[in-house]
């Protein structure tokens, strides 16, 4: 709360936290206003849900469901937020989730139980992130193109591994993690993972040099370089972080669906980018918050939930989803543009 989203001129602040006090306050207030507006949107949605389906919407089961469904895409979005803040984009997140999930559910991997599956998913995710990062940071490729290439080849490799078949998980320990027995104080384990990733992401962005450097690179890469930041290495780390988040998300998806399939993570890239943008992250980089992104994800999933509870048709759902994205961003702009 005390730390603002970002100073607009990172070059002058070297790499240390030597920030002035008075411009900070307005920035902080603006960031809070943005967060408040998002909470407002969410509150309106909750109200709509509560009015249209009073019996089922505010049910404990349903709240657990919304949070669970937000978890997988939420973890991906946290990684995506860092990448976008640094002025990049990661179009390969869905493909990485798919690849990590099918690799982690091959029979050979399942022999090693929960640990084997988790380890493989995370390693595959990070390996993909590393390739993205190398191509972008040291290969000089535009993030859009490098991650688009990863999207294509990742999906291709996932298809190759599965041969189009659904790979069922037979490890009981993994399946149990998604079931009611393993809820801790009524909270599903997946939601706890999501909360942990969010907390770590928030700390990383707001309380560490890594976070400040990410913002600085996104605000003005050249200035950041002059300020002594190793921009290339920073970029490499950011895509690695995104890959790590995808690996964790892949494991969560395996727990949730009990299987690995090459279609997993379909269109996650668009959902994660949309959630981050709704959350106030600038697509051009330099500004963004983890809280905003997480609220963006929750808004998305809550909308979906309300649609399903009210049995809306697919076409209507899609139209309404588009309209709500536009509305949310317009509200955002109004609350953040007046200085």
């Amino acid at each position: 709360m005390t730390q603002p989203a970002s100073p607009p001129r990172p070059a002058t602040s070297k790499s240390g936290p030597a920030d002035g006090a008075s411009p900070l306050r307005t920035l902080s207030a603006r960031a809070d206003l943005r967060t408040l507006s998002l909470l407002g949107v969410l509150a309106v949605l909750v109200l709509i849900g509560g009015i249209t389906q009073p019996d089922s919407f505010l049910d404990t089961d349903n709240v657990q469901l919304i949070l669970t469904q937000a978890s997988v895409i939420g973890v991906v979005t946290v990684g995506m937020t860092f990448v976008i803040i640094s002025g990049g984009i990661d179009l390969s997140v869905g493909a990485i989730v798919a690849l990590a999930s099918v690799w982690a559910t091959t029979v050979a991997t399942q022999e090693y139980g929960v640990a084997g599956i988790l380890f493989t998913a995370v390693i595959v995710g990070m390996a993909c992130g590393l390739v993205n990062g190398m191509l972008i940071a040291y290969g000089g490729m535009v993030p859009f193109i490098a991650t688009l290439a990863m999207l294509a080849s990742g999906r291709g490799l996932a298809l190759e591994i599965t041969d189009g078949k659904t790979q069922m998980v037979t490890v009981d320990g993994v399946l149990k993690l998604g079931e009611r027995d393993s809820y801790i104080l009524g909270i599903p384990p997946l939601v706890l993972v999501f909360a942990a990733v969010t907390a770590v992401g928030w700390l990383l962005l707001n309380r560490t040099t890594f976070g400040r450097r990410s913002v600085a690179v996104g605000g003005n890469a050249e200035a950041a370089r002059l300020a002594g930041i190793d921009v290339r290495r920073q970029r490499l780390y950011l895509y690695l972080l995104s890959g790590l988040c995808c690996g964790i998300a892949a494991f969560m998806l395996i727990v949730l669906s009990g299987s690995g399939q090459n279609t997993n993570g379909n269109l996650y890239e668009l959902d994660a980018i949309a959630a981050a943008i709704i959350g106030g992250t600038l697509l051009s980089g330099g500004r963004g918050t983890i809280t905003g992104s997480v609220l963006g994800v929750l808004i998305f999933i809550t909308i979906q939930n309300i649609f399903a509870l009210n049995n809306l048709e697919t076409a209507v759902q899609q139209i309404a989803k588009g309209a709500i994205i536009v509305a949310a961003v317009l509200v955002q702009r109004r609350t953040s543009s007046h200085t």
């Binding site: 389906q53 019996d55 089922s56 049910d59 089961d61 349903n62 469901l65 669970t68 469904q69 298809l159 041969d163 189009g164 078949k165 659904t166 069922m168 998604g178 079931e179 009611r180 998806l253 949730l256 669906s257 009990g258 299987s259 399939q261 090459n262 279609t263 997993n264 993570g265 379909n266 979906q304 939930n305 399903a308 509870l309 009210n310 049995n311 048709e313 697919t314 076409a315």
Partner: protein, 352 residues
């Protein structure tokens, strides 16, 4: 010339086959009268209808789909396995593709290779119609598999599943199971809503339910034929509908996810009917330890049948068990319901 050639070739095929089969039919008829000489009868029959015995060499070009889904994968496997069965068949198959332009290119390559017969499962039936016409005009008969071309002139024979019939079978099965239950509620988990086949499946289902006045369909949500979407949409449906009596899920692949969601929600108060006939669904039906009690078939074995038909076309033969000299122009499969009663009969058709 482009207009006459398909007819010419078709007529040639027809006359050739007719002449051949008429002769065979006459001998077939006479030798059928005394019922004892089985061996002789089937020998004679091989003149007119296709069977396992090696005949004229046929090269079949197969342009299949990209196997990114269990059922589509089974289609490719079925076609390839069936072709291997025949020593007189050479299969030239192209890389499966979801990309219309790419698939058109692949079919054109097969035409240029001058294969004898083409089997095409188009990524998009309408978009591939022109290349189907082109093949027919080049004198290569086309067996159109499942997704139908826009013009009947673009194929010699169509074989595919019955999406409307699938819905009908599922609806009747559920209707019979819920007979006598007052105010029964039914829920539908549909497939990808932007596909025509999904609409047909839902229409068939609704039409069947109209026969049962005690049943009301209370909810319908569309998933995307994937495990992930099945899990996601089903868990939402379960929240929306706290009690219902039956669920029809259009696709067994997304059914894997739907079953997960049902287990996670701890629900077992309804019966579920699946769709397509995946092995995992059949195993669940057999072990009878979940809500899944039946599945309506949309058999990928149609690809094997398409190879049979292509071979018969290439050898100018008819199909056995029918009176006609020629193979039919249109064959729609039947969507049988598989449940615990008849599972042993269908288990071998389950696809992974």
């Amino acid at each position: 010339m482009p207009e006459t050639s398909p007819f010419a070739s078709r007529r040639g095929l027809l006359f050739g086959a007719a002449a051949l089969s008429t002769g065979a039919l006459i001998t077939g008829c006479t030798s059928n009268e005394p019922k004892d000489s089985d061996g002789a009868a089937s020998d004679d029959k091989s003149q007119q209808v296709a069977d396992d015995k090696p005949g004229k060499q046929v090269t079949i070009g197969f342009a299949g789909p990209q196997a990114d889904h269990g059922w589509l994968n089974a289609i490719n496997d079925n076609a390839k396995e069936r072709a291997k069965k025949y020593s007189d068949v050479t299969l030239e198959s192209t890389e499966g593709s979801n990309d219309t332009a790419a698939q058109i290119g692949q079919v054109e390559t097969l035409i240029n290779k001058k294969v004898d017969v083409l089997v095409i499962l188009p990524a998009d039936g309408k978009a591939l119609t022109q290349v189907g016409l082109k093949a027919m005009k080049a004198g290569i008969p086309v067996v159109n598999l499942d997704r139908v071309f826009a013009s009947p002139q673009a194929y010699r024979c169509w074989i595919g599943g019955d999406n409307y019939g699938m819905g009908l079978s599922a609806g009747h099965y559920i209707g019979e199971k819920l007979k006598g239950k007052k105010n029964a509620k039914v829920v539908e988990l549909a497939g990808l809503d932007n596909l025509e086949l999904t609409k047909q499946r839902s229409k068939g289902f609704d039409d069947a339910l109209k026969n049962y006045s005690n049943i009301e369909k209370v909810a319908r949500q569309a998933a995307e034929f994937t495990v992930e979407s099945g899990q996601q949409k089903m868990s939402q449906l379960l929240q929306a509908q706290k009690n219902f009596d039956a669920l029809w899920n259009h696709d067994d692949d997304q059914g894997v996810g739907a079953l997960r969601a049902i287990k996670q929600a701890g629900r077992d108060d309804f019966l579920m009917v699946g769709g397509a006939g995946a092995l995992s669904a059949m195993q669940a039906i057999e072990s009878d330890d979940s809500v899944l009690k039946a599945t309506v078939l949309y058999p990928p074995s149609m690809a094997a049948s398409a190879i049979d038909l292509a071979r018969a076309l290439g050898q100018s033969k008819g199909v056995s068990g029918m009176a006609e000299f020629e193979i039919p122009a249109f064959i729609t499969l039947y969507s049988a319901v598989v449940d615990k009663e008849n599972i042993s009969k269908y288990m071998s058709t389950g696809f992974k």
